[in-house]
Amino acid sequence: MELNYRGRCWKFGDNVGVDGDMMPFEFALQRETRLDVLAPYAMTGLDPDFPQKVRSHDIVVGGKRFAQGNPHIQGLLGLAAHNVGLVCESIPRGSLRNALNAGLPLLPACPGITQRVESGDELEVDFRSGRVRNLTQNWEQTFDPLPAALLDIILAGGWQPALKRRVEEMLARGAAQPT
């Protein structure tokens, strides 16, 4: 899986809520995790047409405390279902874990980024190096990328595939001893 995305910017502000803004709360209560069920509702609390307009490898840009609220994974799965990348000023720790669990490539700490992009800008983001290029406004800036150990989880496709691989390696080594 390559981690260089080029696409259009979808800019949202500060305090985007994981429940309600990013995904109807009902799906969290139902513990719904099927991507095909969640995809038509991604970000519809803020932009009802987002699921129709967004394209693979577009970049969602969020402000501070993106995906705030009780750490439900559904809003992050909704983004992952559209195969977009996420760049935000900050993200609470529960939602960071959920973004990784969903296999969503992200740059979690990009202070000031919402001041430097507009929706519709052409962006290119290398999630491995942290480099963001705004091809419309003609600038580039490098932010802290995820540590390598967390990029591995995204490369594996999310937490469950990563865990499956870890368990298989462990069982192959005979690491789990009978108790």
Binding site: F25, L29, K64, R65, Q68, N70, P71, S90, P92, R93, G94, R97, N101, P147, A149, L150, I153, W159, L163, K164, R166, V167, M170, L171, A176, P178, T179
Partner: protein, 419 residues
């Protein structure tokens, strides 16, 4: 290199000095989960082809979210949990009537010692910080710890809070805890461990330290803990004996911020709907009619909290049309409350007691609200739906303020009762 308490704990666990920001896979000293995440972890392990736990002796399970099953579904779940406990050979299983709230009784029973790392399913495991222990919630990823022994965490920065000053009459540590998360703010606290110290510690007992450790997680803290002192030692020594060792940050340890925080708030604080950090002075919401009051939850169900409530309820009646539910945190607290006469005070006042555990705060499965009703309680969160229906307002406050409001039938300043 001088280290914070958190850096010391994580360095000890992984066997080398850690650096804030790095990703590590630590093997915890203890793992906890509750009755609502046992069937789930079992399914997760089955899907992975894992048929035994990496370290079953480290796992503690408590039936606290729904101790007395109130539906057929709950009864069947409890039945399934007991079978899973037998299947994996889990020794530390505290079923209904045995322990109580899993964020409290393990401290009473000596499971928690200063310097330990505990990984948990539930976010409020941070309570163990009252004993100088680092408790971190991983939610569903606790399945990875159960299967493989560890899961990733990022070594956090620490925000040091030096508590100073003294509490005013009618103002409790809960009021301070609610106000403090607003004053610190999520931008500062996110991802960090909040470490408490300072001259006011001498006046804050272990029960109330749990309340302070319970709250920062609401604004994104990874955990919270206290440095140990004579109070911790006096409380823990009878429980853990020689395993007690003091833990404090080194002089010159690197903090993200060090803040002096005064306890001398002049007014009790109430968290209004819809979030725990929507905090106002009680005078702002005083007079709001309430239907339902509750004293309990992992934030406020200690003996100290029940004594606070009893100060106001003794010799008084809960207002007509208000129901007051009291949930002692643990079996031990319930027994002590009975021995001290607190239970009689509550019953004479017209309150009901529930089984030790989370009480209604666990999603309102026990004692929910009706749509349109208003509650004031000492629970941990007030998101819409926390006590059942989404269109019911929840105010969070101290045991004193909740008891005063239950007596008056409207949100009331407890200073009218406590002098």
């Amino acid at each position: 290199m001088p280290q914070t308490i958190t850096e010391k704990i994580l360095s000890r666990v992984i066997g080398r000095a850690v650096t804030p920001g790095e990703i590590i896979y630590p093997e915890p000293d203890l793992i906890t989960t509750h009755d609502w995440y046992v069937v789930n972890f079992d399914s997760a392990l089955q899907a992975l082809g894992v048929d035994r736990l990496y370290a079953p002796e480290k796992l503690l399970i408590s039936t606290d979210h729904e101790p007395v099953a109130v539906s057929r579904q709950a009864a069947e779940r409890q039945h399934a949990v007991r079978a899973i406990v037998r299947k994996y050979g889990i020794e530390h299983f505290y079923d209904v009537g045995r322990g109580g709230h899993g964020h409290i009784f393990p401290m009473e029973l000596g499971y928690v010692a200063p310097g330990m790392l505990v990984l948990a399913y539930d976010p409020h495991v941070t309570n163990y910080g009252a004993a100088g222990c680092l408790g971190v919630s991983l939610v569903v990823e606790i399945s990875e710890v159960l299967a493989c022994g560890s899961a990733w965490i990022r070594v956090p920065d620490t925000v040091r809070v030096n508590l100073q000053g003294t509490l005013q009459p009618g103002v409790t540590v809960r009021d301070v805890a609610q106000r403090m998360i607003v004053d610190l703010g999520s931008d500062l606290v996110d991802y960090t461990v909040v470490e408490f110290g300072g001259p006011a510690l001498a006046a804050i007992d272990v029960d109330r330290r749990m309340t302070l450790c319970n709250t920062p997680v609401e604004i994104g803290a990874k955990s919270s803990l206290f440095e140990t002192d004579q109070i911790t030692e006096a409380w823990l020594k009878p429980r853990i004996g020689d395993r007690f060792e003091h833990i404090r940050s080194d002089p010159g340890a690197n903090y993200k911020a060090a803040i002096d925080y005064g306890l001398g708030l002049i007014e009790p604080q109430v968290a209004a709907p819809p979030t725990p950090d929507n905090v106002v002075g009680v005078s702002t919401v005083a007079g709001t009619k309430v239907d339902y009051a509750f004293i309990g939850s992992c934030a406020n169900s200690s003996l100290a909290d029940l004594r606070d409530a009893a100060r106001i309820l003794r010799g008084r009646k809960v207002s007509a049309g208000v129901r007051l539910i009291v949930t002692p945190g643990t079996q031990q607290i319930a027994a002590e409350a009975a021995a001290e006469g607190l239970v009689k005070v509550f019953i004479d006042a017209g309150a009901v007691l529930t089984a030790p555990g989370c009480g209604p705060c666990a999603g309102g499965r026990i004692g929910p609200l009706a749509p349109g009703e208003v509650s004031i309680n000492t629970g941990t969160r007030n998101d819409p739906g926390r006590l059942g229906p989404r269109d019911a307002d929840i105010y969070l406050a101290s045991p004193l303020t909740v008891a005063a409001s239950a007596v008056m039938g409207r949100i009331s300043d407890p200073r009218e009762f406590v002098h």
